[in-house]
């Protein structure tokens, strides 16, 4: 055999090429043989070793190196029950998934009587149970546990060094913290600061000329975020014990307008009750400004139910929003549709639907005609409305726009009862005779526009439903279509669809309502439900099941009241009271110039964080002396607020003391004088009910399934909100804390010295509520669920018979009513936990109120008004479209929330928030996908990357909320001698609120808020955009 040289070279060359090309493959083979990529575990691979094994016979085998505990997630405000896997040796959280007992994480959820062992087996692959109705945490819930070990956590009390917001701190002892915060003094070498002790003045009025403002203690304000199951404890301290009136959550910059609209419908503008569609049984749902399965609480449960209902059930739905959400996707097929709408014009859509329903006689007249609950129930309706109740519409009448009452008709009653609950409403019976609503024996007349002779005077009255109808008839469908950008035929089609499913269709809204006409948009939309008569019906519009009250005057302990309890009084700093009752109004009226007020007042709003800070810093109606920020970040969350107050907030003369309790340094508490560490996620205690969307009662438990990381108090407890407040109370000798602070029904008293003293007793109350107390946890439940670690403190704190019952709750992560209890025992077509409030088609409190700037009367029913500034001037009148061609809106993804940026696993999936614009707009503005642009509003400008996206309406630019952080790790603070790590990823993207608008019509030039609800306006901001 002879091989030529040439062929030899060629063969060797070929071989060499092969060797090079196959090197990686060969390497993998050899690596395998050498065991290089051998997985750590045979089945789990490189993931943590499984927490337990369930064999084919259903036998459970526990991995004792891990603990599996049921507690509550805090990755957003939904408060889903979760299952947390912990490595016992390191105490680290390994994984987070769903709690099968919790309806927020599982559908259907396990009954409480299932043992912890059975719950573990239920989530396994045995008989496919673990996959059927799988118990899940969402992606964010899973990822945010990472924040527990974040290098940016505050773990020891900090005191600022140098100017506010300079990013420099010194760690101080708990004793020093207490001493300085309580006693004040020349704390920063900037002059004297009043401490909390001096500021707790319950006697001296803030202003002797305006005693209605209340005592000086009101100059201390507390801002919290959301009730994470601990708010009642904080309120006990700052309101009932310390005594300030000003304790406010985050509602006014979350979904405040929606809640206010709902509050108007259900007649309570302060607690603002609301409903959700019964997703599981609905046939048609109109989602407006909310994205089922993407955002809107409880988004994960909604996603499960909506996906099931559109697959196996009859549900189809339309999502109305300027921005496309996950809700309309290829999986939803024809069952889900996206309908883009111009920002802030949802009221036009709603009123068009209402008009069509009236014109085509598709409103539920039977339901509407029953003027009281009992009569409605007798006639097969589980709720009732004030549709037939009469409203005074006589111009100049002292009761103009108010409900006509029995006392108006001459019924004698004590003055303090007049116009209150017992003062009945009036309607006309079928013969046209006035009858009191609670005495009606049959259906009342619906459409009434007549003149009654009352007290010898002729008074024109209309029924509530007549007023709504008149309002709807103000414009025709083409005009509404023009306003909202949805064709008239589509509007009519939606109305027809809504009225074609009996009680099984509903309308729901949420965060998309945060526009300059948000309140009326929401009220109009939600009023459609009353017209459809779907409230409390299976498949209709249903109430939350609520929870079990932990902090009430409960069956085991009284956590509601205590000796020396303060009832805070005065004028709230958010000005959510009538301007007409203030001394300022009286003074101005005397000068014959009652309007405008120095800043708007919001008599029909709840506590307003949006207004508290601008007012408190400028001293209107009075000045703030101390601000407590507990897990609160208004500077990041409120559109335009940073522009308005950042300078003043940095000035200790404007606001002498800022104390924050927070596990992190955020955009707001970066201005604080002191930051006190707080427990985070799975380190905390708490009892919290589902926000909404769960028709059965659900109370999730939060308990420290891992040990808190913060440094300890001298008594050896981890520093946190509770231990700090207890120490403050003791240092100031305030009531309600320390020895004998808690009593039981037998009159025995107990100390409140630790968080456990409070939360475990709250748990005992929960365990004993309802028809009968919960069962006892077994030994095995306690061991398997990790409650074992806390057994000593349970036994030390609770009475012997309470230990096993509270352990029962902790071992199951809460108390949950069985899923089958969602519907009424007598009539399964009705809800068991109904919305008890009457549906108000006319809300007299809104209708009788006046705009405090213009003095014009507000409308008392759902209505379409153009987005407007505080005095009623339409936004587009001041910022016309030719100068500001775009409108900015905010939206949320399912991944990022305002405080999850530190979860870098999420950033791996979704590293920034490019601004979405429509391809047509991109062409017109000559920008391309990925371009860096400058976006300007009258409130400022920012540079952002754009994403050209067909899932958005033309003329709208959408910014996802949750990015654009300056803090939470985006800036490296210097603490003592160490500097925090730098992580540029955490500063990614932009925050729409940085360019929020200041309202040019407000005398105080504060951020733009809805004129009724006082809710921050972040949808429909006028803007322009050009390439940077």
């Amino acid at each position: 055999m002879k091989i030529s040289k040439r062929r030899q070279v060629l063969a060797l060359g070929g071989l060499a090429a092969f060797a090079a090309g196959y090197s990686a493959t060969a390497g993998r083979m050899v690596g395998k043989l050498l065991g290089h990529d051998a997985p750590k575990h045979n089945t789990a691979g490189d993931a943590p070793v499984p927490e337990f094994r369930v064999d084919r016979q259903g036998k459970l085998e526990i991995n004792t190196a891990q603990q599996v505990s049921y507690t509550t997630c805090l990755g957003c405000t939904t408060m889903c029950g979760v299952r947390v896997r912990i490595d016992r040796a390191s105490g680290k959280v390994l994984r987070v998934s769903g709690n099968p007992y919790s309806p927020l994480s599982t559908d259907p959820h396990l009954p409480m009587k299932a043992s912890v062992r059975e719950s573990f087996i239920a989530i396994s692959a045995l008989n496919g149970k673990g996959l059927d109705g799988r118990s899940t945490a969402c992606g964010r819930g899973n990822a945010v546990a990472q924040q527990i070990d974040s290098p940016f956590r505050v773990l020891t009390p900090l005191k600022r060094v140098g100017a506010r917001n300079s990013g420099r701190w010194e760690p101080i002892s708990f004793e020093q913290l207490l001493k300085e915060v309580v006693n004040g003094g020349n704390l920063f070498g900037e002059g004297d600061v009043e401490g909390l002790m001096a500021l707790r003045d319950l006697a001296t009025p803030i202003d002797s000329k305006q005693p209605a403002l209340g005592p000086r203690v009101n100059q201390v304000a507390v801002l919290s975020s959301v009730n994470d199951g601990r708010e009642n404890f904080a309120r006990r301290f700052f309101q009932q014990s310390y005594g300030t009136l000003n304790f406010i959550g985050h509602g006014s910059y979350c979904g405040g307008s929606y809640r206010s609209g709902s509050g108007a419908l259900f007649g309570d503008m302060k607690t603002m009750p609301h409903c959700k569609p019964d997703f599981a049984n609905a046939e048609f749902v109109l989602f407006v400004g909310t994205a089922p399965g993407q955002a809107g609480n409880p988004f994960k449960r909604q996603a499960t139910l909506v996906a099931k209902a559109r697959t196996d059930g009859k549900l189809s739905y339309v999502v109305v929003d300027p921005v496309l959400s996950h809700a309309d996707n290829r999986a939803s097929g024809d069952r889900g549709r996206w309908l883009p709408i111009k920002p802030g014009t949802d009221g036009a859509l709603a009123m068009a639907i209402i008009r069509w329903l009236f014109e085509n006689e598709r409103v539920d007249s039977n339901f509407l005609s029953f003027p009281n609950a009992a009569l409605a129930k007798q006639n097969g309706e589980p709720s009732f409305s004030n549709a037939s109740h009469l409203v005074v519409v006589e111009p100049k009448h002292p009761r103009e726009q108010r409900m006509l009452r029995a006392s108006d008709m001459g019924v004698e009653m004590p003055e303090e009862q007049r116009y209150k609950e017992t003062d009945a409403f009036v309607c006309l019976d079928q013969s046209g005779k006035p009858v009191f609503h609670d005495q009606a024996s049959g259906p009342a007349q619906l459409f009434v526009d007549t003149v009654l002779t009352i007290g010898g005077k002729e008074v024109r009255v209309k029924s509530s439903v007549q007023l709504l109808r008149d309002e709807a008839m103000r414009l025709d469908l083409p005009a509404y279509a023009e306003a909202c950008g949805i064709p008239a035929e589509t509007l009519a089609g939606l109305a027809k669809e809504l009225s074609s499913h009996g009680k099984k269709a509903s309308v729901i809204a949420h965060g998309g309502m945060m526009s300059g006409s948000g309140f009326y948009n929401a009220y109009a939309l939600l009023s459609i439900n009353a017209l459809l008569g779907n409230i409390n019906w299976q498949g209709g519009f249903v109430a939350n099941g609520g929870g079990f009250k932990d902090n009430g005057e409960g069956p085991r302990y009284n956590l509601e009241s205590f000796a020396g309890m303060v009832k805070p009084s005065g004028t709230p700093l958010g000005r959510n009271v009538p301007y007409e009752k203030t001394a300022e109004f009286a003074a101005r009226k005397a000068e014959n110039k009652p309007y405008p007020a120095a800043a708007p007042w919001f008599p029909n709003a709840p506590g307003l964080t949006t207004e508290l800070l601008p007012g408190g810093l400028t001293g209107y109606p009075y000045a703030l002396k101390a601000l407590i920020l507990w897990s609160s970040n208004p500077l990041y969350g409120i559109a335009g607020l940073r522009n308005k107050i950042a300078k003043d907030l940095a000035d200790p003369k404007k606001l002498p003391l800022i104390v924050s309790v927070d596990p992190f340094i955020n955009e707001s508490n970066a201005f604080a004088d002191y930051i006190v560490p707080d427990s985070l996620m799975y380190e905390s205690w708490g009892w919290v009910a589902a926000w909404n969307g769960v028709p059965t009662k659900a109370m999730s438990a939060r308990w420290p399934v891992i040990a808190p990381q913060a440094t300890k108090t001298p008594e050896g407890h981890a520093i946190g909100m509770e231990t700090f407040f207890i120490a403050l109370a003791k240092a100031m000798k305030l009531p309600g804390f320390g020895a004998d602070a808690i009593s039981d029904p037998e009159g025995t008293t107990y100390a409140l010295n630790t968080p456990e003293d409070w939360y475990l007793r709250g748990g005992a109350n929960i365990a004993w509520l309802g028809k009968e107390p919960v069962a006892d946890a077994t030994e095995e439940d306690i061991v398997l669920s990790g409650v074992e670690r806390l057994r000593p403190v349970l036994e030390k704190t609770l009475k012997p018979d309470e230990v096993a019952k509270v352990a029962f709750l902790l071992s199951r992560g809460g108390r949950y009513q069985p899923g089958k209890d969602a519907y009424d025992e007598d009539d399964p077509r009705w809800m068991r936990n109904p919305m008890k409030s009457m549906a108000h088609l006319w809300n007299e409190n809104v209708g009788a109120s006046k705009n405090s700037l213009s003095g014009k009367r507000n409308n008392g029913c759902g209505s379409w008004i153009e987005p407007a500034f505080a005095d009623g001037t339409p936004m587009r009148k001041i910022y016309p479209a030719d100068k500001w061609p775009l409108q900015l809106v905010s939206y949320k993804s399912a991944l990022q929330n305002p405080y999850s940026i530190g979860a870098t696993r999420l950033l791996g999936l979704h590293p920034e928030n490019p601004v979405l614009i429509h391809p047509d707009d991109a062409r017109r503005m000559d920008v391309k996908m990925g371009d860096l642009v400058e976006i300007a509003t009258p409130g400022g400008s920012l540079k952002a990357r754009i994403m050209v996206h067909a899932g958005i309406l033309q003329g709208v630019a959408a910014i996802e909320h949750g990015f654009g952080h300056r803090e939470l790790g985006a800036r490296a603070h210097r603490i003592g001698r160490t500097t925090q790590p730098k992580d540029k990823r955490l500063a990614a993207g932009v925050n729409l609120n940085d360019i929020g608008l200041l309202d040019p019509t407000r005398p105080d030039k504060s951020p733009w808020v809805d004129a009724i609800s006082g809710a921050s306006v972040r949808n429909g901001l006028p803007a322009r955009l050009h390439r940077a």
Binding site: A11, G14, L15, A16, A17, A20, Y22, T25, M29, G951
Partner: protein, 361 residues
């Protein structure tokens, strides 16, 4: 029309790498060439005698290299064992792990039986490895019935390989370009034209042109069949009879890249046909064009098919880069083919001067 927008998009790496293209290309050519070897070596058809020998060489070169590429596509080659440790008879891919050995052992046995007389001849010549030849020749008998039996086994293996390799892709519903009954047929017919191309290439390398007309005749028939199948695929898609194909067409519709690819495929296929019909005596150009066609179809189906959105809306373009899993791998496999070709042609004579098996001279 509704526009699909990906709210949360992922750029997905293709799971089927160019290794897969190479495997399907090589195993296809091998089976195609094997079929070409049958007329001359089994049926002893005089016109095919020479060309069938080159075909057998092509079948061997490509058949021996194909599994090497396939192993690389498993990412972790050791995983191939799992096909045998945990047989899954419900999966076309897993079934393939049984079809491939059937074909390859059949082919090798068939080749050996065909080559025994030559090996015996070689053993008679003075050579340091004459002893090896002797042992390999194992007597050196020409045994037509044994050859027929081995050919039947290898034919069964070849048919099953063509079937499984087409089916394992056709069943993927998420890949709109793959999910069509046309796919196994197109793969099979281009395997044949590829086999013709490789055989023609080897024929050209021997310097003989006498079978050019025969090869070009069959190449033209194969290309016609390919065109008919492509047209049928297009009709199924445009008419909506095949929703998957319609979806694939829609996804490709507005892309210039896809338009260019389509024009290229059609143009080169027509050019191949034109060459085969009008230059019946040329070998090299039709050979290269046929190989190009077989490669192009597989590249489009694999790499293009994976660039079409599977669950979202994002198309992802693939770029050849100089890494082992990409361009370097392709060069490497070409190198292996070259080396094998040289080794095989050095060991055994394949040209017509040497005595073909069954040749009485």
């Amino acid at each position: 029309m509704n526009t699909t927008v990906e709210v949360l998009g992922f750029a997905r790496e293709p799971a089927w790498l160019p290794w897969a293209v190479q495997y399907f290309f090589l195993i296809g050519i091998s089976t195609g060439a094997f079929f070409l070897s049958l007329p001359g070596l089994v049926w002893r058809h005089p016109d095919w005698r020479g060309v069938s020998r080159r075909a057998l060489l092509a079948a061997l070169v490509c058949g021996l290299t194909a599994p090497v590429a396939l192993l690389a596509d498993l990412h972790q080659p050791g995983r191939f064992l799992n096909f045998y440790l945990h047989p899954n008879l419900g999966s076309w891919m897993a079934l393939g792990s049984f079809f491939i050995p059937l074909y390859l052992f059949g082919l090798i046995g068939y080749a050996w039986l065909c080559l025994r007389p030559q090996l015996a001849d070689k053993a008679k010549q003075p050579s340091p490895i004459a002893g090896l030849y002797r042992r390999l020749a194992y007597g050196g008998h020409d045994n037509p019935s044994a050859i027929r039996a081995a050919a039947i086994a290898a034919t069964l293996g070849a048919v099953l390989v063509l079937l499984y390799s087409g089916m394992e892709m056709m069943v993927v519903q998420a890949r709109s370009l793959w999910n069509t009954a046309m796919l196994p047929l197109i793969f099979a017919i281009t395997a044949l034209t590829g086999g013709i191309g490789m055989t023609a290439l080897f024929e050209a390398l021997t310097g003989s042109r006498q079978s050019a007309a025969l090869l070009n005749q069959w190449l033209a028939r194969g290309v016609w069949a390919t065109l008919v199948l492509l047209a049928a695929w297009l009709v199924l898609g445009l008419s909506g009879m095949s929703p998957a194909t319609a979806e694939a067409l829609a996804a490709m519709g507005s892309s210039f890249g896809w338009l260019a690819t389509g024009v290229w495929l059609l143009g080169s296929t027509l050019f191949t046909l034109w060459m085969a019909v009008n230059y019946r005596n040329s070998l090299l150009m039709p050979a290269l064009l046929a190989l190009h066609g077989a490669w192009l179809i597989r590249w489009i189906v694999f790499i293009g098919g994976q660039s079409l959105p599977k669950m979202g809306s994002t198309s992802r373009s693939y770029y050849l880069i100089l890494t082992p899993d990409s361009l370097l791998g392709i060069v490497g496999m070409a190198g292996l083919c070259l080396t094998l070709y040289i080794i095989l042609t050095s060991l055994v004579p394949w040209d017509d001067k040497s005595s073909a098996c069954g040749d009485p001279t």
